[in-house]
Amino acid sequence: MAIKLLSVLFALIAIRRVVVRYRRGGALTVEFVMWFLIFSGIGIVVFIPKVTDRFAHWIGVSSGFNALTFVAIAGLLYAVYRLLSRVQTVERDVTRLVRSQALMTATRVPPAPPELPPTSPPAPPAK
């Protein structure tokens, strides 16, 4: 029972975050719908495990729990891949920006003044 309650709690917190983010304009509608369905699904599926057994049979694994684990790992791997791609793109853009600024502000080092030849000592005062 504890795991069911924890799952529902987790799903509610996650859904709240998704909704708040969407309202603030931080997510596209398609992202909102996707995450809403995923977290709602987690909250609902713990109460009707038979549904997952039917899904497991459909994708060809032995039990509903295995099927969910399989889908969860595949989903997480895909999310990590997307995240890494996004980070890589952002890093490249930052470098491009920093580079163009550096190229625009290139500074030539002023050469040191040439060393003057040693001056001859002052002539002794005339007597």
């Binding site: 890494l84 930052v94 920093v98 580079r99 550096a102 190229l103 080092v109 002023p110 050469p111």
Partner: protein, 232 residues
């Protein structure tokens, strides 16, 4: 009028950068004009001020507003060299681990038209290199070979040279230390004529502390694998 652009990436090198610049050779055989491009990679110390105070009129200072890593800094230096029509480019470490006379040794096969890309290898005659560095470098050579399919005796060398045609073709995308292996990949991808020349490695406490640690090899491996998987 062959021109050489010497690119020196520098991150927090205030202690040594002026000596490194002072020790550069006044001229290089086969080269009429030399421009030294120091890329200050977002240093938090007085690296840029030391460069400006060097009094060497051949030096151009490019400043990164924030640190982008070795690859980012080298990419900026290469972009500057391209913009200014460099005939030859040499990359050179700021920490004083290269012997200035090796610049000429790296440039010679380029000027003679015998190669498009030259790597100065510290491992052809590994005198004075600590054993753990030798082991670490061979490990990274193997990683570079397995990922990019090209064998070199010093894939992590900071002293490399490229002729004009190679400079136009190489496309550096990695920002951090793994860029050294990316140069090898680019040499292979563009089928550049390639040479290795032996160079000295001058190890001081300072350069040993600044240089790559073997543990960085794992980071480089992970980044190279990710780069290989996510290439676009």
């Amino acid at each position: 009028m062959p021109s050489l652009f010497l690119i020196i990436p520098a991150f927090n090198e205030a202690r040594v950068i002026r000596d490194t610049l002072r020790n550069l050779p006044p001229r290089v055989a086969g080269i009429d004009s030399m421009t030294v491009v120091v890329v200050d990679d977002g240093s938090s110390d007085a690296t840029a001020e030391e460069v400006l105070a060097s009094g060497d009129g051949r030096v151009v200072l490019l400043r990164h507003a924030i640190n982008r890593g070795l690859g980012g800094a080298l990419g900026t230096g290469l972009a500057y060299a391209r913009q200014h029509g460099a005939d030859y480019v040499v990359t050179y470490d700021a920490d004083g681990q290269h012997a200035p006379e090796d610049i000429g040794n790296v440039v010679a096969p380029l000027v003679a038209g015998e190669a498009d890309a030259v790597i100065g290898s510290r491992l052809l005659q590994p005198k004075g290199m600590p054993w753990y560095r030798v082991v670490g470098n061979w490990g990274l050579n193997l990683i570079t070979f397995f990922i990019f399919g090209m064998w070199t005796t010093d894939s992590q060398s900071g002293l490399r040279g490229f002729a004009h045609a190679a400079l136009q073709r190489i496309d550096i995308r990695m920002d951090r230390m793994e860029v050294s292996s990316e140069f090898i990949k680019e040499i292979r991808r563009n089928r550049l004529r390639y040479r290795e020349v032996p160079i000295q490695a001058i190890y001081s406490d300072y350069s040993l502390a600044k240089g790559q640690r073997n543990v960085n090899g794992f980071n480089i491996l992970i980044r190279l694998v990710l780069h290989r998987l996510m290439e676009d």
